[in-house]
Symmetry: C2
Subunit: 136 residues, 2 copies
DNA sequence: ACATTAAAGACTCTTAATGTCTGTAATTAA
DNA sequence: TTAATTACAGACATTAAGAGTCTTTAATGT
């Protein structure tokens, strides 16, 4: 029970794209080099992010990816959901009416997700930039 | 990224054992029937719970399982950890100094876990009994 | 036209989860 | 002492998901 590596790659990618300035397009090659991944593999992850509306892609020469226009609202949860899907961690298919076990699990998971929803990429990106500026 | 079925089985088993009265021993056969599982498979799960100190086993004829003496302190988190291990959900092996991504993920996970730690089996068991009593 | 780039899909490989089967050791009952 | 019952351990098979590669297609700019 772990988050997939793909989620990790997606988060790195998203932070990287968030930091980019202006409308500059970044190709999958650059993103893959940064994380030492195969471009084709990362490509699938990027497609998921694009389908989730978190990034925008431009095909063709000089094409690439850039962060979505909703840049300032994208949370960690958004990224995770785009990759992992937004299914519940605890999946009892039976769903008995008013199940106490499900209630506990769901509530706990909810606590995690509200936290992930409150953390925005833009904040992390700013913090990362600030550190770099301080030379730390 | 889901909790394993084993965790589900473990939770049901633990609630069931918590509800048992006195020191009555319950065999794996009964526990397996209850959940419509193969006894041998459930046996492995029970062994994990026993190793985790959540239940106590007695071998031999008339043997079986009963809830641990720490009955009143066992939380959902205890059960989950006994089955899934207590590793982190987000496993970046690199662990860069002061990583912002890890910080966010760890904090969110912590929120879930504190919730799971606060929920005790005994409370769920009591609630379940109360419902039964009310005929609901 | 040609080079570049994202997108899609088929495919393989690896790993973890799920589950079965068989045998062993401990305990009780006869 | 023997037999039945039960937990425990380990080998094994099956399945499902994740991780990753390769090839082809479509879109875009030069
Ligand atoms: S009681 Fe809850 S967890 Fe158990 S089978 Fe029913 S719905 Fe699932
Ligand atoms: S920055 Fe954080 S998440 Fe990324 S590789 Fe380093 S430790 Fe892992």
């Amino acid at each position: 029970m772990k988050y997939s590596n793909a989620t990790n790659y997606a988060l790195h990618t998203m932070v990287y794209l968030t930091i980019q300035e202006g409308e500059k397009l970044v190709g999958v090659q650059e993103l893959a080099d940064m994380q030492r991944l195969s471009p084709t593999y990362l490509s699938k992850i990027l497609t998921k992010l694009a389908k989730g509306g978190l990034i925008e892609s431009t095909p063709g020469a000089k094409g690439g990816y850039k962060i979505s226009r909703t840049k300032h609202e994208i949370s960690f949860l958004d990224v995770i959901n785009a990759i992992e899907g937004d299914t519940s961690l605890f999946d009892c298919t039976l769903h008995h009416e008013g199940c106490l076990i499900e209630n506990v699990m769901r509530e706990a998971e909810e606590n995690m997700k509200t936290e992930l929803k409150s953390k925005l990429l833009i904040d992390i990106a700013r913090e990362a930039e600030a550190r770099q500026f301080k030379g730390k």
